[in-house]
């Protein structure tokens, strides 16, 4: 997994609550057996019109958001299906950070397994960020996971919360399976004690 340390990038907004994983990556794309290449299908039903052209009404299609690496969005992002294809699609599209007032549990968890950072911020801070993006066409953020801060080079300096273990794994790009296998003896002991 690619480590996540400090990332600077443009911010795109998707101002809706309860964006579900069925929207992030519709089911017709879950049939693939690879982990990669899902970015083309991100928000498919919103992003594209019937004839396959980009739908100009959809926020992310605005030219000013092209190349964004930070997604700013509404509460309960990633609710619904457990599909890990959702973070795969966001990552493959180019996002490495998602900021929202709240996330659904499984989605939140899935992000960390893929080197992507979901940041929970209080509603008023998210609102303020939305305003900043609206007012500044090239609005970018530096997400510093070492110090757990967000900076925009215009005076904004926010701390964000992340559990120490999750932070550690992201910073190092650790393979959790490898970590667990270090406890092989304990797993075997547990199995021996419980198979009686």
């Amino acid at each position: 997994m690619e480590p996540y340390r400090r990332e600077t990038g443009k911010v795109a907004t998707l101002d809706r609550a309860n964006v579900d994983t069925d929207q992030i990556i519709p089911k017709q794309f879950l049939k693939r057996i690879e982990r990669s290449g899902f970015g083309r299908f991100l928000f498919y039903d919103w992003r594209f019109r019937e004839d396959g052209s980009l739908d100009p009404r959809f926020e992310l299609n605005r030219s000013r958001f092209r190349g964004a690496t930070v997604l700013l969005t509404g509460s309960n992002f990633g609710c619904g299906s457990s599909r890990e294809h959702a973070p795969w699609a966001l990552l493959d599209y180019g996002f490495r950070t998602v900021i929202a007032p709240s996330f659904a549990d499984i989605f939140y968890n899935n992000c960390f397994k893929n080197g992507m950072l979901p940041i929970r911020l209080p509603g008023r801070q998210v609102k303020d960020l939305f305003r900043r993006v609206r007012e500044n066409p090239e609005y970018a953020l530096t997400v510093d996971l070492e110090s757990c801060t967000l900076r925009d080079g215009r005076g904004l300096n926010l701390e964000f919360p992340v559990k120490p273990f999750r932070r550690h794994c992201l910073l190092e790009g650790l393979d959790e399976i490898g970590l667990t296998l270090r406890h092989e003896d304990k797993i075997s002991r547990y199995e021996a004690a419980h198979s009686a």
Binding site: A17, D22, Q23, C79, S81, S82, E84, E176, I177, H194
Partner: protein, 466 residues
């Protein structure tokens, strides 16, 4: 110290604990299906790892498969490849697969319980959010992502932070025609779709104690729709009776000993929950969803709400979007809303009792000429049982299509999909935009309500028919 059902199971499964870190938890049962597993098996292969406990792992095909002509090769080549990939992975890694020709095949959350793989006190996972269903047995069961599927395959453990607990106590008594589906829709309507994020819910109170196992499964199934990590019900005589004699439940003395252990599981009377919610469901009306998430629900006697009356701007905005997508006007009586399609199925409502309750409504009646209605049993066993009881004939004589088992139009990964603009009364669990087909409009209801909608061509208050 008094403990909750959740805490008893969790503490009993901790393999390793360190301050400031999530726990390493042992997993007793791992269920696998074709959609969320290929990348996990591929990961094992790349790392040169095997499946640690194939004996605790069970796979089936459900999401992608057609519900007609299952003997024929799958026409959709990408779906066929995914199905074949699971077959190959199971062979290579020694995992039992209930394939299309197996009597045990079915929706993963239907077969676990009916085979007796699901039992009180176990930790269970599956790469599927509705794994919460199995909590009906007093198991700790939750959905995981594909990376975690790989983690469990490789280690039979998961790294998990301890969730918070919440007790939802239902009081009152339900009117005839009002079901577990209505109760859970009402709860999500009250709590909101993120109301239980970070929590494991324990359902309690006289209503739940009076529920059958199948009703408890419907309840726990939709816990995730309120954002909960899992839903649980304390095991009791109803649970034990359901399990006795199931294929994977040990018989005789071993069963008795297991029951003795299971009796210790319910939450201690003084146990504390992080949150408590009391819901009075006395004289609750049947529920119908009107919008694009499972919290957007009204009484069948009600009208489509006016988003402008909502308190929060975010709710007003999503309400407007939902009405636009659903093509509904505020103030329209629910019973005036006409449907084009009816889907009876999914891991929420495709068990034998669900089919019986729909068949009771369908018997001797005819599906409205403008409606296409289908019944998709949750598993081959449910299908067999229904046919033995003659339910299939009741349905087909009424004009319903009777299908093979699978997820079908719950998510429409197979050819069973809504056409753009079609409106569907569905017994499934999600009414998200496009869930049942791009542009399709889903209304979540109970099996009896769905059957009645098929016959009337619009929503009816099922209580008027009883």
């Amino acid at each position: 110290m008094p403990k909750t059902l959740f805490a008893k199971i969790w503490d009993d499964h901790v393999v390793h604990q360190e301050p400031g870190r999530p726990d390493l938890l042992y997993i007793d049962r791992h269920l696998v299906h074709e959609v969320t597993s290929p990348q996990a098996f591929e990961g094992l292969r790349q790392a040169g790892r095997g499946v640690r406990r194939p004996d605790l792992t069970t796979a089936t095909l459900d999401h992608n498969i057609p519900t007609v002509d299952q003997k024929l090769p799958i026409a959709d080549l990408i779906a066929r490849k995914q199905v074949e990939t699971l077959r190959r992975n199971c062979r290579e890694f020694g995992v039992t697969l209930y394939d299309l020709d197996s009597r045990n095949q079915g929706i993963v959350h239907v077969i676990g319980p009916e085979l007796g793989l699901t039992r009180p006190g176990l930790t269970m996972v599956c790469g599927d959010s509705h794994t919460s269903t199995h909590g009906a047995f007093g198991a700790l069961a939750f959905g995981i992502g594909t990376s975690e599927v790989e983690h469990v395959l490789a280690t039979q453990c998961l790294i998990q932070s301890r969730p918070r607990t919440m007790r939802v106590h239902f009081s009152g008594s339900l009117s005839a025609g009002v079901t577990a589906k209505d109760v859970i829709l009402y709860m999500i309507r009250t709590l909101g779709t993120d109301g239980a994020v970070g929590h494991v819910i324990e359902y309690a109170g006289p209503v739940v104690e009076g529920f059958s196992m199948e009703e408890r499964m419907t309840l726990c199934n939709m816990s995730i729709e309120a954002g909960a990590r899992a839903g649980m019900v304390a095991p009791d005589e109803t649970t034990f009776e359901y399990l006795e004699g199931r294929p994977f439940v040990p018989p005789g003395k071993e069963y008795q000993e297991a029951v003795d252990r299971w009796r210790l599981l319910p939450s201690d009377p003084q146990a504390e929950f992080h949150r408590d919610l009391d819901l009075d469901v006395d004289s609750l009306a049947p529920q119908v969803s009107w919008g694009t998430n499972p919290g957007m629900v009204v009484d069948v006697t009600g009208v489509v709400p006016d988003p402008e009356a909502f308190d929060e701007e975010a709710d007003r905005e999503s309400g407007r979007r939902a009405l636009d997508y659903m093509d509904l006007d505020p103030g329209t009586p629910v019973q005036r809303v006409r449907v084009d399609r009816v889907f009876i199925g999914s891991c929420t409502n495709s068990r034998i009792e669900d089919l019986r309750s729909a068949a009771r409504i369908a018997r001797g009646r005819k599906v409205d000429q403008n409606v296409y209605a289908m019944v998709v049993p949750g598993s081959q066993r449910v299908k067999g049982q229904a046919e033995a009881e003659g339910l299939d004939r009741i349905f087909t004589e009424a004009g319903f299509d009777w299908r093979e088992s699978g997820c079908s139009m719950c998510l429409g990964m197979n050819p069973d999909v809504l056409q753009p603009g079609q409106r569907c009364a569905s017994t499934s669990n999600r009414n998200f935009e496009g869930r049942q087909g791009k542009g399709g409009r889903t209304h979540l209801v109970s099996p009896a309500m769905a059957a009645a909608a098929a016959i009337q061509g619009r929503f009816v208050d099922i209580r008027d028919w009883l």
